[in-house]
Amino acid sequence: MIDRVLDSRSLTMDSFDWRFLGLIAAILSLGVLSIYSVTSVQAVSGTPMYLKQLAWIAIGCAAFVAMLVVDYHKISRLAYVLYALLLVLLVVVLVAGKTSRGAQRWIPIGPFVFQPSEFVKLVLVLTLATYYTKSPRQGWMQRVVLPGLIMLPGLLLILKQPDLGSGLSYLSIYISMLLVAGMRSKAMGTLLLFAVMLFPFAWELVWGSLHDYQRERIMTFVDPAYDTGGKGYHGLQSRIAIGSGELLGKGLYGGTQSQLKFLPEGHTDFVFAVFAEEWGFLGVLVLLGLFAGLIWLSLEIALKAKDMLGALLAAGLIAMLAFCLVINIGMTAGLFPIVGIPLPLMSYGGSSTVATLAALGLLLNIKRRRLTLFY
């Protein structure tokens, strides 16, 4: 009966929904525009990149709607199953995946490739939120260690690919969930102590699992003088692209860095640099504003959620989006090492686009059910 009431309500939209959808649409458009600009000069056979991205967005919208209409409590019941399924897929990737640039990340499905790691982020949020809502949370064993053990197989499998960016995302999701739900203040101090003590070991674990090119990337970031073989090239070209955009940018198709291919991966991980080069600092401010607005609205959803599951889910999804956003822009702007994290809603990529839109659908789902949920 409650469900029926919800169903009727879900047909009407309020101004919040429109703002939320408007921001998503605006960011998606800028993303497609940048992909169009950077790939228009490249003689790629087959379907143009921007059309493919539009197709992914269409699929993503379906996922968005699906995540919106089904009650998130129902979805959360499937969390463990979905997580187990994705872990299996991560194993499949390692066994039979497609290798590109030293990393094995994709499962080919027909003409497309599927990247499970993007969906693992979403499902990991779902799983941890479900865990914190359902399980007794007395000692720190239950609050800290068990959730960590839930995350661990995903983390290890992803580092084996190796995909440092996704690995860091998983860690960030876990830590965010800890911060909002898992810890009392006293426990927080203990954990920090532990973190400091365990850091060298964790570093060894992470460092040891990295590929040479990843280590070099990190080393060139930490110590620019380390860059003897031109490995800092990527980061430098990205900074040149962004910086040379200056205040007003070089205009659409005017980005010489990306158009002339000095900047690699312009349509995927470095789409922000392409945008910044063509639209300048003003464009960048607008884009940052759109992203900040979207996350702000998401935080509103989390703050007004009427139950634990909703709030936790929202917090986790926000952490996931914000982390990717900050790390991606930070790495293109030379603040962080280059780790290969896509910019949500803008970078070209099917799995990332669909997963992000699904996550946003889930966020809106939480908001729409808060008014009528209880009793």
């Binding site: 911060l179 909002v180 739900a181 070209q237 900074r239 040149i240 692209a241 962004i242 910086g243 040379s244 955009g245 200056e246 205040l247 010489t256 860095q257 158009q259 002339l260 291919k261 000095f262 690699p264 910044a276 080069e277 300048g280 600092f281 960048v284 401010l285 940052l288 992203f291 900040a292 996350i295 702000w296 935080l299 989390a302 703050l303 959620a305 139950d307 634990m308 709030a311 936790l312 917090a315 926000i318 914000a322 900050v326 822009i329 930070g330 702007a333 030379g334 603040l335």
Partner: protein
């Protein structure tokens, strides 16, 4: 509502309080990112903008078209033909080893050559030439693989070409890339690695006129180094054209006359110093040398025993043999050692210092005056005179005739030969001059060496009774930019002031050499030729030279003939030197005669009509001179 629900509600409230921290950190992080981007785009914006421009644009040198070279009648001797050059821009090369491998495979490059070229000093941003003269097929092959070969470009360019092949090769020279060492010189300061310069002959001495000035093109390139768009062009300036003094027909004839033999033939106009022909054999192929040579090809040329790269006319140094008697006779007459009444009895030998210096005529010439001695080339007469004069007086006159000095011809690395004297021997060998050496020196043997060019000036000086002109090979330069023709004047040499009687006697004797002496084979029905034969002994076989044909060719004497014509009013001087051919009168004189006859038969310098029958692409000289060209 249950108790558990209450706890949940508390926890929810605590959680949401923490989310407020999220909001603050969100604002903080976005602010930080904005600050960083402010720094990159506003603060350092212009710096990064410059970097992106440097990335984007690249300066490409536009090579100038080299000036053309014509003979005196407008016959084209050197031009440029289209060709394809293979260039590599190191900046864009990702994997040098793989690149070298594919280039070796695709266009058959020599691996060591490529490696050397790629490791030479120079800008990594400028494309450097790795090979030129690609075939159309090779060029197409490279172009079709251009995406697999980052940094590699194929460019159409002009290749130096010598339409008449081997003709006048030593005189014209060849072109080649400027070397790293040459770039250090101020003369080549404005050039860059890969510039083409003259490396030999006129191409080298007149390079500053011929090479023109390079232009520059600013192009937009992509990350692979491929040109996308031209931003700016500074046009190159073509080089100036040269009009040589050479007469292509005489040149061809002279070369034909030498045939397979080694040697040199020079013909100059005595009234101007114009070099009409200068042949040297063996020869190199300038069309081959002007293209990229492999180390092997180069080695083959350098190690060739015939030394084809030596211009025997200006760089070959030979004993003058009996042609030196002209100078000894002049010295004798000038010093009074010899007078018209001086007589020497020739018995076929000259005993001195315990041995007998032989005359070429075993039974002797009998009693000889100076004129007959020249006509019959009597050795004993000159042994006697030489001994009376002494080596230092002979050296003084040789010096006055220009031996031991460069003639000043505008060709690279002219040699000077040796004029021996007591001082010279002390200095060069730290030995005392032996009296017997004076005897040999009197007939042009021993230490004395000369170049055919020097002997040409000796005979030309005699022909002009002391007046002569510096040998010149370029008559005019046509400036490409303006079309103006700059005529180069004949430069008179200092007059060799000898007594008129001396010249008179020399003229008569030299005419006699042809009419009744050793150069009977130079006698011509067309024109009276005057000259002197010479047979330069090769060191090893001084006493056995008459055995003639039994001697291995390599050790046989060199044949000389120095001449001018017409004897009464000289216009042309011709010198022939044929290596290892034996007697000058038999072998060298007839060749000189043919060159002189060809010259006399041709109408006197009338450039427009004189080139009838020649295939030339450019307007004839006379028209050029009137400024109506182009």
């Amino acid at each position: 509502m249950s108790a558990q629900g209450g706890t949940q509600h508390d926890e929810l409230r605590e959680l949401q309080q923490r989310l407020v921290l999220f909001k603050i950190s969100l604002l903080l992080v976005v602010g930080l990112l904005a600050l960083r981007l402010w720094y990159l785009q506003i603060n350092a914006g212009s710096y990064y903008h410059d970097l992106s421009e440097n990335n984007r644009t690249r300066a490409v040198v536009l090579e100038p078209v080299r000036g053309l070279i014509y003979d005196r009648h407008g016959v084209l001797l050197a031009n440029n033909v289209p060709s394809f050059g293979l260039y590599v821009t190191l900046e864009d090369v990702k994997d040098r080893k793989a690149l070298i491998e594919s280039l070796v495979k695709m266009v058959g490059l020599d691996e060591t050559t490529v490696r050397k070229k790629l490791s030479e000093r120079g800008s990594k941003l400028l494309p450097r030439k790795v090979k030129d003269g690609l075939t159309l097929r090779e060029a197409a092959l490279i172009e079709s693989h251009r995406l697999d070969l980052p940094g590699v470009t194929v460019r159409p360019e002009s290749q130096r070409n010598y339409p008449s092949g081997l003709t006048a090769a030593h005189l014209l020279g060849y072109v080649g890339e400027v070397s790293s060492d040459q770039l250090e010189k101020s003369e080549y300061a404005e050039l860059h690695l890969g510039s083409i310069i003259g490396q030999y002959g006129v191409e080298r001495t007149y390079d500053r006129f011929l090479r023109g000035r390079a232009g520059q093109k600013t192009v937009e390139v992509d990350a692979m180094g491929h040109e996308k768009r031209t931003v700016e062009v500074g046009k190159p300036l073509a080089g100036d054209d040269l009009y040589l003094t050479i007469d292509a027909r005489l040149q061809t004839l002279a070369e034909h006359l030498l045939g397979e033999e080694f040697g040199a033939i020079i013909a100059i106009e005595t009234t101007t110093g114009d070099v009409l022909a200068m042949a040297s054999r063996p020869v190199f192929d300038p069309n081959v040398l002007s293209r990229e040579l492999t180390a092997k090809q180069w080695e083959k040329i350098v190690q060739d025993e015939g030394h084809p790269l030596t211009n025997r006319a200006t760089q070959g140094q030979y004993p003058p043999g009996s042609t030196f008697k002209i100078i000894v006779a002049a010295a004798g007459l000038e010093t009074g050692t010899v007078t018209m009444t001086t007589k020497v009895r020739c018995m076929g030998g000259f005993p001195f210092g315990g041995r007998v210096y032989r005359d070429w005529k075993e039974r002797g010439h009998g009693v000889m005056g100076v004129e007959d001695a020249i006509v019959d080339s009597c050795d004993v007469f000159f042994y006697t005179i030489g001994q009376r004069l002494g080596i230092d007086t002979m050296a003084e006159f040789a010096d006055r005739f220009g031996l031991g000095h460069e003639t000043g011809i505008e060709l690279p690395s002219e040699r000077t030969g040796i004029v021996p004297s007591t001082a010279w021997k002390t200095k060069a060998r730290n030995e005392i001059w032996l009296p017997g050496e004076t005897i040999s020196a009197a007939i042009g043997q021993g230490y004395t060496t000369v170049t055919p060019m020097q002997m040409t000036m000796v005979i030309a000086t005699v022909a002009g009774s002391g007046e002569s002109f510096r040998p010149r090979i370029v008559r005019a330069i046509k400036e490409r930019a303006t079309g103006q023709v700059l005529d180069l004047p004949s430069v008179p040499r200092p007059k060799l002031a000898l007594k008129p009687e001396t010249y008179e006697l020399l003229h008569e004797s030299l005419a006699g050499v042809v009419t009744r002496g050793t150069a009977g084979r130079a006698r011509s029905a067309l024109v009276q030729i005057a000259g002197k034969t010479g047979t330069a002994q090769t060191a090893a076989l001084k006493d056995d030279r008459k055995k003639g044909k039994d001697i291995p060719k390599k050790l046989r004497d060199h044949a000389w003939f120095v001449s001018y014509a017409p004897a009464e009013e000289p216009r042309i001087a011709v010198v022939v030197l044929v290596e290892n051919m034996g007697h000058g009168g038999s072998w060298a004189a007839p060749l000189a005669k043919q060159v002189i006859e060809a010259y006399i038969k041709s109408k006197p310098v009338e450039p427009v009509t004189a080139n009838a029958g020649f295939d030339h692409e450019q307007a004839p000289m006379a028209v050029v001179m009137q400024g109506a060209h182009d």
